[in-house]
């Protein structure tokens, strides 16, 4: 058995717009490689703005979309293609979703607990309703709810935070190893948001559940995650441990994102130019961020940037991560020297600059 829980191997998803002759192709996910360790449960945040492909990637992991090329492996078994040797039942016992809007997750016409029973019975976790009830009680208690407070009620009788906790409890019923949460707190009030995020941390600790946390909120991503992948127009432009990536970004886009967080205690600088036309960036085969990058060079508009490996399981999709990091005045002298030494060894030679992307990371 593979020692990876989940392996996203060179996944690409192309959406087509318009007709056969004059239609345009739209690269929503562009050769993405990501993985999650099986032994050590971890939280991987996928961060990006709208249109970065993060939700498409989540849907591929959840088997709601089929990738155009590439594959996703769950515990070494591929989940797409003719060689797929994993049935739906086994898959959804291991991977469970949590969606963005809890009011859309649950129908207003159905009692909320019926979703919990359905999950337990359909996935054959419980033989009958009596056994299911015990499992559900257990799942609800791990998110801080009681079955009597839930049973027989409809979605409109709960607050968004409570519903989202029920949604997490539903996902917990089959005791999954991985939960894919797509913007789980963006619809939740700020005062309750941290309660939900803390549940993720406690589940990771208690039940060894790994999470893929999809968000555009960098501050909760930093709080909850071990690893972070920053996506831009379908590319993972920076990947690494959340501590290093978010406190010391190496890609200019990561820094732009960080500077846009409305953080208390740090005021925004007062200039930002938003792009006018966005569609073109998806079709750009060179660096997609080139038009917005403050450090753009001619080469960025001609070739696809290399995937630069940096020690400590970190990678950046940029021509100049070194120079960029050195240009930044915020970097301390000490950090500068460590990164310079790191990168001297690992910078790709000129011949590899035209190659697109790196191999799968493990």
């Amino acid at each position: 058995m593979s020692d990876l829980l989940l392996e996203i191997r060179d996944v690409t998803k192309v959406f087509k717009r318009g007709g056969v002759l004059f239609g345009t192709q739209f690269l929503a996910v562009d050769h993405v490689n990501l993985s999650l360790d099986r032994q050590k449960p971890s939280v991987l945040s996928i961060v990006g703005e709208s249109g970065s492909g993060k939700t498409t990637l989540a849907k591929i992991i959840l088997k709601l979309h089929e990738p155009t090329s590439g594959n996703v492996l769950l515990e070494g078994k591929s989940i797409f293609g003719t060689h797929s040797n994993l049935d739906s039942l086994g898959y959804y016992r291991t991977v469970q979703p949590i969606f963005q809007n809890p009011f859309e997750t649950f129908s207003m016409r159905k009692q909320v607990d019926s979703y919990l029973y359905d999950t337990a019975l359909n996935l054959k976790i419980a033989k009958d309703r009596k056994e299911a009830r015990d499992i559900i009680t257990d799942a609800l208690s791990s998110v801080g709810l009681e079955i009597n407070a839930v049973a027989g009620k409809y979605a409109n009788q709960f607050s968004g935070g409570e519903l989202q906790r029920i949604s997490i409890a539903r996902g917990l019923i089959p005791r999954p190893k991985l939960i894919v949460a797509d913007e789980p707190v963006s619809m939740i009030d700020a005062s309750l948001r941290m309660n939900i995020v803390n549940i993720f941390l406690s589940l990771k600790k208690k039940y060894h559940v790994s999470f893929i946390y999809i968000t555009h909120d960098l501050s909760t991503a930093y709080y909850v995650s071990d690893y972070v992948a920053i996506m831009y127009r379908g590319d993972v432009i920076e990947y690494g441990s959340s501590d290093r990536v978010l406190t010391n970004p190496m890609h200019p886009y990561t820094e732009l994102l960080l500077n846009s967080v409305p953080a208390v205690g740090k005021k925004w600088d007062r200039h930002l130019k938003l792009p006018d036309v966005e569609l073109k960036e998806y079709q750009n085969t060179a660096c997609k961020f080139a038009n917005r990058c403050p450090f753009v060079q001619p080469v960025c508009r001609q070739n696809k940037p290399p995937r630069v490996q940096i020690p400590g399981d970190r990678e950046v999709l940029c021509f100049k991560p070194v120079d960029y990091a050195l240009d930044r005045t915020t970097l301390s002298l000490e950090r500068e020297t460590t990164y310079r030494d790191d990168l001297k060894v690992n910078l790709p030679g000129p011949e590899s600059l035209s190659a697109d992307g790196g191999g799968p990371k493990s």
Partner: protein, 329 residues
Amino acid sequence: MLRLRDIKAYYQTPGAVVKAVDGVTLDVGENEILGIAGESGCGKSTLLKVLYGSLEPPLKIVAGKVEAELKNEGGKLVTLGPREIRKHWWRFISYIPQGSMSFLNPVVRIEQQFLDAVARKQQFTNKREIHERISSYLKELQLSIEVLNAYPHQLSGGMRQRVLVALGTFLHPEIVLADEPTTALDVVTQKGVLLMLAQVRERMKNSLVIVSHDIGLHYQIAHRIAIMYNGKIVEVGPTERVFEMPLHPYTQMLIQSLPRVGDHKHRQGISGRPPSLIDPPAGCRFAARCPFVMDSCREEMPPLLEIEPDHFVACYLHREPIQPGKGVR
């Protein structure tokens, strides 16, 4: 500029009366950005509807009044009913809504929507003059003129929201109201739209009232911030002071619950949920969730007191003005 005096605005439905805004007194000053923060269902959007005079049944103002200083009436303070406010739409007061897609007409080009909404209010001699005014205004806001020919669905969410900012500020209104103008946008676009709003306001020297549940956003652009909880204002003050020294436990907990990049400290949300707006408790509305609750809190709603210059709080923990230089809790 605009004053709310003990406003009570209720949704009067046959089954129940929802007291969404229950006794709010608030001033919108000249040349300032006022932020209104609070969780969903605290009445902040209803308060904005009162300010905008956009009251439709079952929403009704049952008590209190809205007063405004109108420049064309010699700066006198006049009481305005909802009908009167509507007469001053676009020129004195304008509104930037949350969902740009439901506000813009999907089958009409942007330019025509400009004409429909604002050009009628202004005296123009011919169509070319209007067109030039609109294009030069868009150029001023660094928007491309191509958007005028586009239909709303052809624009991205951020672009649509910027078009709405342009539309709302085209006639240089004295007050601009923005209801969660960036909720559906991602962080980079959000920053772009908010900075644009702040810059436009800076140039026009008018007032901006911005409603959002994200207090980080208020920290970034608001001059003054009002925290609403369950139909009441619990704290108002200069943004810097409120974040430096939040007085109300609710404000304190809200600020403490915000995670920060670079800080792994454990954060806790506020447990429990706000009381029902149909039958609110007699005392402080936050009493059930407050860690410092006292007996007096449950008996009577604490009044909004000025604790330090321009910094008001409604909490029994703070009954006396504080000495300068002396911190609280």
